[in-house]
């Protein structure tokens, strides 16, 4: 016997249907009013413009002035059911070089596996706190923050392995009291399958090129959860992490921006972290991230197009939403085109249309060999996108080898479409008010 939907589930499903109908209706109206060529060209123009702004910033600015001081640092690790990774993570953390001894506080957030037992192996080298019940990552970090007496705090995930020079390279970027946080180049720990190989490239591009360019415009939107170093004073000013937030690393970054703090980025420090190894896990992770982007975006909407927040409010913050929205529009348009063809082919296959499916397939629906003149408008976009990927490899100190060509191609094409679809799904979830979960 199948499960019967509960009243709460039914109302969510109903709202989900309304939201879907509303979003699809809006897209349908747009697609009926604007020819597809203009949608693609318009989106392409905006993407090229945004990319050139970041490239000019990337090329133009001088390197950061580095502070010669190394203030005291406390490392906070929040762990929940991290038995497979916690030991290696703590070993990497304790192996970090730093001119001064640093304190490590580990919080076991009521794990149900043997995380706590594994933590205890390091007793004497770190302070262990244990929550009687699961409170979430933000609450665990806030709890540990109360014990912090150093000027800097490094928050590190329990499935993350910082390289030994990470702290040494990140701390000198605290060159002024206005610097609220410093972030590093987050990399994928030993990618084992194709999904992880694509994410490896994505991480190099996002945390490498984009974050470097955004950092130069003082426009970083996130202090990545795997590892970020914060000024303890800045954290206290924003009253720590938002405990009800599913993307607390984005919320804290926006909060710091709203309070006028700067966030700096260095690719000299590498942090390796575990990433989803299945499509389902990846989808859930990205849904959470993008939902966080939407509701945190709404919460800090006062900064949108607001010049008093500098380039962040004037350009970076609005551009990030425009980019994502355009991605949804373009991908929906492409899918609509193929879906209508596939629908007609299906009609043919079931003899509901007067022409059979094989004749339709043979009609070249999916194999139009004509080189469209408009394709020339996208040549530069492909070159630009390829150049950004190449720059990101260089920033990560990696060389492109032949085995990476397939993941790079998938990342530049299908994967970007997948992310836009997840964004579409996250818009739906937020419109409906589906419960936010980790």
């Amino acid at each position: 016997m199948g499960k019967v939907a509960q009243p709460r589930q039914r109302s969510v499903l109903l709202w989900l249907a309304f939201a879907l109908a509303g979003l699809l209706g809006g897209l349908w109206l747009l697609f009926s009013l604007v020819p597809y060529m203009w949608i693609f060209l318009g989106a392409n123009f905006i993407f090229v413009f945004i990319s050139i702004v970041y490239l000019l910033e990337f090329w133009g600015k001088k390197p950061e002035t580095l502070s010669k001081e190394f203030p005291g640092v406390t490392v906070i690790v929040s762990a929940y059911n991290s038995a497979p990774t916690i030991e290696a993570s703590l070993k990497a953390i304790l192996a970090m070089r730093y001119p001064k001894p640093f304190k490590v506080i580990v919080v076991d957030d009521a794990s149900t596996d043997n995380t706590y037992a594994k933590m205890k192996k390091f007793a004497g080298k770190l302070t262990i706190l244990r929550n009687p019940e699961n409170k979430g990552k933000a609450a665990s970090i806030n709890q540990a923050l109360k014990l912090v007496k150093t000027p800097l705090v490094a928050c590190i995930d329990s499935d993350t392995y910082p390289e030994c020079n990470a702290l040494e390279k990140m701390v000198p970027l605290f060159n002024s009291p206005k610097v609220g946080a410093v972030i590093a180049l987050v990399c994928v720990e030993k990618p084992r399958n194709f999904i992880q190989k694509i994410q490896q490239i994505e991480y190099w591009v996002s945390f490498g090129f984009w974050h470097t360019a955004l950092g130069k415009l003082d426009g970083l939107l996130v202090t990545p959860g795997p590892m970020s170093v914060y000024s303890a004073a800045a954290l206290r000013k924003v009253r720590g992490f938002d405990e009800g937030n599913i993307t607390e690393d984005m919320e804290i970054a926006l909060h710091l921006q709203a309070e006028g703090f700067q966030i700096k980025c260095t690719t000299a420090a590498k942090i390796r972290t575990e990433v989803p190894d299945t499509f389902g896990k990846l989808y859930r992770q990205r849904l959470r991230w993008l939902r966080g982007k939407i509701f945190n975006g709404w919460r800090y909407s006062k900064m949108l197009f607001n010049s008093s927040y500098g380039d962040f409010g004037r350009f970076v913050y609005p551009a990030s939403f425009v980019n994502e929205l355009l991605g949804v529009i373009v991908v929906s348009r492409v899918l609509l085109m193929h879906a209508s063809n596939a629908f007609n082919m299906a009609l043919g296959a079931f003899n509901l249309a007067e022409v059979n499916a094989s004749a339709l397939y043979d009609a070249g629906i999916y194999s139009n060999a004509v080189v469209n003149s408009s394709a020339f408008f996208f040549v530069f976009t492909v070159i630009l996108w390829g150049y950004i990927v190449w720059l990101s490899f260089r920033l990560a100190g990696e060389k492109i080898h032949i085995g990476q060509l397939l993941p790079i191609t998938v990342f530049m094409t299908v994967y970007s479409m997948f992310i836009s679809l997840v964004y579409f799904a996250s818009m739906l979830h937020e419109a409906v008010g589906v419960e936010r979960k980790w």
Binding site: F49, I52, V53, E354, V355, L360, I365, S373, F380
Partner: protein, 214 residues
Amino acid sequence: MVKDVYIKALGITILLFAGNFFVVKYLDDSRAEALRTELYSIQEQMQSSRVLLLYSQYSNDSAALCPLLDNQTRRQMTDLYSLYGELQSAREANVFTDVQAIQRRFILTNAELFLYLRQLERQCGYSLVKPVLYFYPEGKDCLECRAQARVLDALAQDCPNVRVFAFPSNSDIPVVQALAKAYGVSRDPSLVMNETLYGGFSSREQILAVTGCG
């Protein structure tokens, strides 16, 4: 106050798109010009054939002139058919240069060739090809029409005795309207073979049953 970087980036983006615009415009224009030249050349040949047909009627010397007319007409049919393919490609590929005017002239030339063939048939006493009139909607995506066009295209390549004359069923060209009305075309796609109308998609086998292949 807008920072320099935004103005510079906007300038570079506009320059890039303007550069692209000129490249695409040049490509579109060259493609349209090539089509126009090809069409004029076919029209010139057709004019020559028509004059020759008039002369054969005037001189009453069909036996000597019909083989010559045959040769010329076959060449024109092949040229016009290949031009049809190029025209279709150009319509899909061009962004800035409209090939609508060339298309109209092409349709007229195609109708002219069809009528000229009928006249030739009457003058020489035998038919050169089995004409298949194919009516499709212009400017509307019709999946069955795309499939029909592909079937007809393959058939025309395999069977030299079959000649397809494609006409937009919603054309405002008087001669095309007259043909559609004369055969009672009411749906897309439609074929006319042996003076009989076949509405909807016709398979290769159905067409071959009427036209044969030789």
